[in-house]
């Protein structure tokens, strides 16, 4: 069963059709890559899945369920709003308009098990590296406001546990020496790794990496590929956007190619590589 399934996904920004009727599915446990020229709509598609944008139309299924299931409304929105959405959704389905094209908020998507990194690194600059990772554990922590205020034994134990787990993740990405450095003081490559660690801290089933190898030298790229393999061997599905063909061809099992918001090819690396439409998108039409 696909862990992520996107059906007829469309996003329009005014006159610009950023993502046009894209279908794709990511199988559980695979490393899936999305490539395409600049402005093809790759990051927009990521943002749609992550809940940062609402789709103009189309549906996103996670683990076979719609990313907008009724139960999630009730869990993440206040009762009157959830009731409104539930009724509106039912009415739309009743008159044949399909389900409400409405995204969950990003934090709700994250709690469903989808974590992501950003193309332009977005760390919490003035927090230490380990604190950055601890923020990732936030949705799975249970300390309430009064626990925080009174620093109850429960809160203390949870903090200790979370810090230990965060340190474990720091070791996993090879940053344990820099745990107490401020994120903004880390070297560029380390910042990328830290972002991955923070995403992993949310315990995702699907990890979406937006150009993780951007700006890396060959050595760093090789290390990144190892890291991606290690993440997959933890049972996490990896969905990445990447420009570097060497990385994409080596690490991914399946590739989807986007151009001008449309899907132009999908398949294993060898097949995609020789696809005339892909070559055309990247190199232009031969005269």
């Amino acid at each position: 069963m696909p862990i992520l399934e996107v059906k007829g996904l469309t996003k329009r920004f005014g006159g610009l059709l950023a993502v046009n009727n894209v279908d794709l599915s990511v199988e559980a446990g695979e490393i899936f890559a999305m490539i395409g020229p600049n402005g093809a709509g790759k990051t927009t598609l990521f943002n749609l899945v992550a809940g940062l944008y609402k789709p103009t139309s189309g549906q996103i299924f996670f683990n076979g369920r719609s990313v907008y299931p009724v139960r999630e409304f009730w869990r993440t929105y206040s009762p009157p709003i959830a009731a409104y959405y539930t009724v509106a959704d039912a009415v739309r389905r009743g008159v044949g308009l399909g389900p409400l094209p409405l995204g969950l908020k990003p934090h709700a998507v994250t709690t469903l098990g989808v974590a992501r990194t950003f193309q332009n690194i977005r760390l919490f600059s003035y927090m230490t590296a380990v604190e950055n990772v601890m923020v990732g554990e936030h949705p799975r922590m249970h300390a309430q406001v009064w626990d925080a205020l009174l620093n109850t034994p429960f809160a203390r134990n949870e903090e200790r546990r979370v810090r230990d787990r965060a340190m474990e993740l720091m070791r996993f990405v090879g940053l344990e020496r820099y745990a107490d450095q401020y994120a903004r003081n880390l070297a560029y490559g380390f910042q990328r790794r830290l972002e991955i660690a923070r995403a992993l801290a949310t315990e995702p089933k699907l990890l979406m990496l937006d150009e993780p190898a951007a700006g890396f030298n060959p050595q760093e790229k090789a290390e990144l590929m190892q890291l991606i393999q290690a993440i997959r061997s933890r049972g996490i599905t990896v969905f990445l956007i990447e420009h570097d063909m060497k990385v994409v061809m080596e690490v991914s099992e399946r590739i989807v190619v986007l151009d001008y918001g449309e899907k132009i090819a999908e398949g294993p690396p060898q097949k995609v590589r020789t696809n005339p439409r892909v070559i055309e998108a990247y190199l232009g039409k031969s005269a």
């Binding site: 922590m141 205020l149 903090e159």
Partner: protein, 387 residues
Amino acid sequence: MKRPSGQRQPGFLERARSFELRGWGAAGRARNVPYLLLGIALILFPILDSDSSQVNVAADAGHWILLALGLNIVVGYAGLLDLGYAAFFAIGSYAFAILASGQFHIHISFWILLPVSAFIAALFGVLLGAPTLRLRGDYLAIVTLGFGEIVPRVFRNATPITGGVNGIVGIDQPRLPPILGWDGKFGFNPVPYYYLILAILILSIFLINNLRNSRLGRAWMAIREDEVAASATGINTVTTKLLAFALGASFSGFAGTYYASKLFLVVPESFSFQAVSVVVLVMVVLGGMGNMRGVIVGAILIYTIQTYLLIQLPGWIDSATAALNIDWLTKLDLGHYAQQSNYLIFGLILVGIMLLRPQGLIPSAQRKVELELGTSEDSLAELQGQV
């Protein structure tokens, strides 16, 4: 708090250290000795001050510190620029004034109303927070500024409830059971008020320090640093921001209750933008946003400048010119000008301090680490142990 005696036992030291991270074992380390001494000095202060006039000033300064600490949650931790903080202070004050005065002949105990008015202020914090959630930076500042202006105006015009321009007079005083020859009545004596605000402040510092080091504090800082990333990391930005508004406001509810009961009266004019909101914001920014010690120092400094320096300055200038005894200088009457240009001098002092210390008097630990590039684990522990 005394030094734990069983330090040689294995495991205990570690426990004590982990407590220190949270600001519990204040006496556990040599570097905390200055704080202990400060605490003793603060407790002994009223005994040494024979006519209690300085104690009165200190007791008045207390609620400003409390306000600055509360605003620091919203501005310093969560990064939400709030220009209407006076509104919550006003709401806290009026909540107490209405429920403990002759206005409606309701006389609920101060000790009950202290948390109640904090809760009411927190409620209004949520009410203000809710419509501003989509706003950031300048836009948020403008909306909160509006709210800060609306609330005192409502109090001024809702005459049947709030007494209008005249405010509410004859507010109840706190009462304690008689102890040690003291009848337990607060009255006009500033000494019990001093101890009261000291206790409230210590409690507030303890609570806010816990908040800062908690899951919630981390979420606030994450939102301050990058809201999109925080949201993508699973933080519900809506509830987290509302909690910042609510908890920040609740401390001004404490301050309002204290202020109203000490002053005996509340009038709408004392909650204006320039009298409260700006002053508290200046305390926070000038002291060092996000750092509790900085904010406390900032509050004390600004309060001293406002209530002591600016008032005494004309007199000093007069006596200085008189001492110099230069005819044309005496004729200039500089003291009079100084009195008239009170706000100008205040502004110049602020500009001067900001030019000298743009990062605040005591910048938050994060800035310090950035400057010193402290990397060892211990340095972080130390930084986090600090208030």
